[in-house]
């Protein structure tokens, strides 16, 4: 399912026909915003990779190449929706209101979280989850709760809530993803399973994970699905918008497989030259989601000044992120004990006191 050809020409495929209204109803401001989202996060993402190379981050999982899948779905979500990311959805978090420096903080090693999902400023974005697929069950439970509390299924798209959960082709092999679909179908949850198939689970190709399209699996659980060109931001937007509104109004869970490509490494610890060839990378580079949208917007009258402004915003974000991440304070050793439990705990108190005394015992004292 695709609206934009790799060269940026608008040519909906037959599968896209039923969704034309959604795309053609999107105004220029939204279309340009989605381009801006993609281009700005790429500048940030590349800055983050450089920060890791310079020793300022422990690790960075680049989103290079997956911008369209992420931006389209994030812009399709409504303000009342809740997002369960995996760990590569940097632009989704940013669109929802999370300060991207907080993502860097997680990867720098000053926190395991980075932001408070219950703070409205963060747009109901839950924390990154590093154990593959576990978040799909959390999302399903959350969506069950929305159903039990009557926060979905009234038929009012402006009010009914829904959940988007992101995962990848590698995680799709995890049992939790399958159990999440069983529970989602069983409780008819207001939920979108958004799978980014970026072709590679570190070094393992998707062909090792599945002999057929991953989107086909959800049919086995009774969950309707769409397979879309994940490098077409319009396809991602339209499919997500339609499915989220169906899910929120009582239609039950939906699934999307966005076929995209991880143009960079899995993380900065990875070396893709060991397992894939340049030909493959170059063929996907010709399908770059940002170049495609840029050509489309240019054909609709976006001028050089617009693109220059977007580039400037990307550079400013990247520079600001660099400046702020390197000056993040070190965590206080005491903080290790602070939130293991939410209520007083004898062992935590004992060990925190011991550590303080131990630190203070050194010459000069840490205390």
């Amino acid at each position: 399912m695709r609206f934009l050809e790799p060269d940026g020409s608008y040519a909906p495929t037959p599968e896209a026909e039923p969704l034309r209204e959604i795309v053609e109803g999107a105004d220029d401001a939204l279309l340009r915003q989605m381009y801006r989202d993609m281009a700005v996060i790429r500048a940030f993402d590349q800055q983050a990779t450089r920060l890791q190379r310079q020793g300022q981050l422990a690790l960075w999982p680049p989103s290079l190449g997956q911008e369209a899948a992420q931006v389209g779905s994030a812009r399709a979500a409504r303000p009342q929706d809740t997002i369960f990311p995996s760990y590569r959805e940097h632009v989704v978090a940013k669109i929802r209101g999370v300060d991207p420096v907080n993502i860097l903080a997680l990867m720098r090693g000053t926190t395991h979280g980075g932001w408070d999902p219950t703070d409205p400023a963060n747009g109901n974005t839950r924390l990154y989850t590093l154990v593959l697929g576990t978040q799909t069950l959390h999302a399903t439970g959350f969506a069950m709760g929305l159903g039990f509390d009557g926060r979905a299924g009234t038929g009012d798209v402006e009010r009914d809530e829904a959940v988007v959960v992101y995962y990848g082709d590698g995680a799709a092999s995890e049992g939790d993803v399958h159990e999440a679909m069983v529970f989602a179908a069983s409780y008819n949850t207001p939920q979108l399973f958004f799978l980014q198939n970026n072709q590679w689970a570190i070094s393992v190709p998707v062909a090792t994970q599945s002999r057929g399209p991953l989107a086909d699996r959800s049919a086995g659980y009774g969950i309707p699905s769409l397979r879309i060109d994940g490098n077409d931001v319009l396809a991602s937007y339209a499919a997500s918008r339609m499915y989220l509104d169906e899910a929120r109004t009582g239609g039950g869970p939906r699934a999307i497989e966005a076929v995209t490509y991880r143009m960079g490494a899995h993380t900065t610890s990875d070396d893709p030259t060991k397992y894939r060839g340049r030909d493959e990378e170059e063929s996907w580079a010709r399908r770059d989601p940002i170049a495609r949208m840029r050509a489309f917007l240019a054909s609709r009258g976006a001028d050089a000044a617009f693109f220059a402004d977007v580039d400037a915003e990307g550079e400013a974000l990247a520079a600001d992120a660099r400046q702020r991440v390197v000056s993040l304070p070190e965590p206080d050793p005491d903080s290790m004990f602070a939130h293991v439990y939410s209520e007083p705990h004898a062992l935590m108190e004992r060990q925190a006191a011991w550590l303080a005394e131990y630190e203070a015992s050194f010459e000069g004292g840490a205390a």
Partner: protein, 326 residues
Amino acid sequence: MTLETMPFARAMNAGLRRAMEEDPRVLLMGEDIGKLGGVFRVTEHLQRDFGEKRVLDTPLAESGIVGTAIGLAMTGFRPVIEIQFDGFVFPAFDQITTQLAKLTNRHEGAITMPVVIRIPYGGHIGAVEHHQESPEAYFAHTAGLRVVSPSTPNDAYWMIQDAIRSNDPVIFMEPKSRYWQKGEVDTDNRPAPLHASRLVRPGTDVTLVGHGAMVSVLLQAAAIAEGEGTSCAVVDVRSLSPVDYDPIVESVRQTGRMVWAQEAPGVASIGGDIAATVTERAFYSLEAPVMRVSGYDVPFPPAKLEGTYLPDADRVLDAVDRALAY
């Protein structure tokens, strides 16, 4: 004071019922817990009385149950999960240890995880493989979880309510062989805080310590020892994480000897940690090493061998004799 005599399983049921009456956000999840009332009937009639949205007969997927309970807790529910048997908790081990236990810490306190996981555990029921195990050490080893185990109907009634009220995840180990044992339940007065150890029998020569079904074995051993002229104190630890050491150490300071008993295998177990800690805190009072009586370090054996595997009063008394011989 309202006293009522009832079996352990019915005390659990009454405690769950009261918690559900007091807080509409409490919901029960598990396999066969609705119409059937659970394989041990602990949740009997609760679905009938509270409805299918408060008592969920879930799909048969333990990771799914715990994972969705986490999401439900994020929307403000207080899920209470029944794992059907001890050996079936492991499909959920990842969700419990990497997610449930760590979420409050990952969120730096911004969210809580008030989820209770009830696990019927232990032997003495002559069942097949995976139905008689004691996996408590795995959970006590995991930061972020609280682990408790009642030994009497009165504790069952009160501790389940306190566990549900806890804003941290609680692994609630139910000694399944005690389900049918009757005891008095005082529905007006809480016997002790959730994480308190309790001296259940005073004594001056040896301190016997354990939890769950072992407590009755220890009391039986103490009664026999008394006939032989040895005075044994018995401490029910009740909470395995955190452990309330004060009543144990206080008793050991008087007796100078301690015997720990558990059904779980001994290596890297609760008993090992308690023995080390008591040794650190009461070293100058000890007249003998802390003795440990455990299951053997083998898979729980076929039912015909459970009598050999499980610590009984004789094995406890053997340890008492060895402690007294120092």
